[in-house]
Point group: C2
């Protein structure tokens, strides 16, 4: 089985690649080759034959060359992130819309019975306020409030139509905010959700730019990889024509995140969180989704953590070797 | 005021043009020029300076030339219809998606404070079964089951994002099935909804390919024109970021249509309806929307007929000079 991963050098992409290489199989079939594609060359992996290629998904002939090798499964994680797609209108549409569409077109044009599984990572950014109570359910309107969310919602529509027409077998998964992100604080507006946990766990100070009553939807990087693997192996006859699913997660307030951190790492850890309200971030976050009722995904076997403490423990296990204390 | 109409030679487009020319003004401003664009040259109109151009909306430079004249209002009705978009995948995407996007891009690239009202005709085909009871409401998921519906749903998303970013002031209107369509029976799968009324009113036989229990959502051509005019003049500050609206209409079964015809035109008329079940049409129609709760549009002042008899009377007034009997 040949697997193509677009966006293989990103945080979730790398974890997916490592997991596939460690498993050596997917859905009962042996993995014979991994093709890793991103704007930069993804680091090599051990255990499975792999090939890293760097390029622009929207470049002429690029996805056609990748699809010509007829991968059995295509994980499409490549995207310009929310902040950049908002700041650079043309780049966002070029990568997130045209790049996705040219991938789908490359599969369609290859013809000859080629019918891969395509796993498309969408986002909860396809939803925009106001939201229903008790949470956004599976039949709620996609009404994005960002260009990124618009591009992901369009990707979902294309995925549905190309799947319905038998071009490929598509599954779209709307990822929660991934928490706790490893690495250093980044400029993403949502970065603080991870920063306020990761930095204190590493003995470092973190900035909290919003109030403790801000509620959001989270899953761990480990869950994100599990979502991807399950989407790649799921019996899609159970899906029907609605090919995109909101993934399960945990809805917590920032206050509840901090309390979970205190329970896991003690009062010293939470003293490292410095309140520094940022009106721009407060405004942005106010229109973000707070909670979901992910019934369809759960009934199809997608699972995530059960509490925010579980999410913190995943970080400690996967990134700190299971040990607390910097 | 300069108005551009894309799709000006179609049935609704022609009626819109005639109405604009007859009124001579829109939203209190005098119409100084109409530009009529379609794949064929639209017939000239009296009373207002007008210019008819034929071309392909997706042709290089085409929409740019139309937008360069900086029309104050753009009515975008140009589309490949449902059946053709399903039969010709590439043409459907080229006209309905790329054509719409290049129009929006042409406005964006013109810059310099140009900010027209853009009225985009969408369709109830953005919805796909299963549907909620008692009808499809304003927060229901767009889950199209045709390429046409997919392309219209994508157009709505683009309209929302371009409006949010201040490129133009967009309003999307999802038209019900337009009934009674004037002219001769056509090959559209939905054609019978009009045929079974129009043909008997003209003393001709009509074929009914589905059962009498089939329920559907209708508005007259006159209402369609009213929707377009209202969308062009509406205070969009009332709309918020959700720029597309399901238009009001009448939900009736085919049996109720026939009964309305009997009341308006007598028992002889309904005897001209010949039952000839067509499994392909029966299958297609089974996934079409049956009824809506068009609260938002109604609260914003969009109105339609109150009964199917009203819809029949509009046909008699507008197409038969108010006189029954062929």
């Amino acid at each position: 089985m040949h697997i193509l991963i677009l966006g293989a050098a990103g945080m979730v992409g790398r974890k997916l690649v490592e997991r596939l290489a460690a498993d050596g199989h997917l859905g009962g079939r042996t993995i014979t080759e991994l093709t890793l594609f991103d704007v930069v060359e993804a680091p090599p992996v051990e255990g499975v034959k792999s090939r890293s290629l760097a390029g622009d998904i929207s470049g002429p002939g690029q996805v056609e060359r990748l699809v010509a090798a007829r991968p059995d499964v295509i994980f499409h994680l490549a995207a310009v992130v929310s902040g950049e797609a908002e700041a650079d209108f043309e780049k966002g549409y070029r990568i997130n819309l045209d790049g996705t569409r040219s991938l789908f077109e490359a599969v369609r044009r290859s013809g000859d019975g080629y019918h891969p599984r395509v796993v498309f990572t969408s986002s909860v950014a396809v939803f925009g306020a106001p939201f229903p109570e008790p949470g956004i359910h599976d039949e709620y309107l996609c009404a994005p409030l960002t260009s990124y969310g618009t591009q992901k919602a369009i990707g979902e529509l294309l995925l549905g139509d190309y799947s319905r027409r038998g071009v490929f077998d598509g599954v779209g998964i709307r990822l929660p905010t991934i928490c706790v992100r490893p690495g250093r604080p980044n400029k993403a507006a949502s970065g603080f959700f991870s920063n306020i946990i990761r930095e204190p766990l590493n003995g470092l100070e973190a900035v909290l730019p919003v109030g403790e009553d801000v509620r959001h939807w989270h899953a761990s990087p480990r869950s994100a990889v599990e979502f991807l693997l399950h989407a790649a192996t799921l019996d899609t006859s159970l899906l029907g024509p609605r090919r995109s699913l909101t993934m399960p997660g945990i809805s917590v307030t920032v206050g509840e995140q901090i309390e979970a951190l205190r329970r896991v790492a003690g009062a010293d850890a939470i003293r490292l969180i410095r309140r520094e309200p940022d009106p721009a971030i407060i405004r942005m976050v106010s229109s973000w989704p707070e909670r979901f009722v992910a019934d369809r995904a759960e009934s199809l076997g997608f699972t995530s953590e059960r509490s925010f403490e579980d999410i913190i423990r995943v970080y400690i296990e996967d990134e700190l070797g299971g040990r607390l204390g910097a």
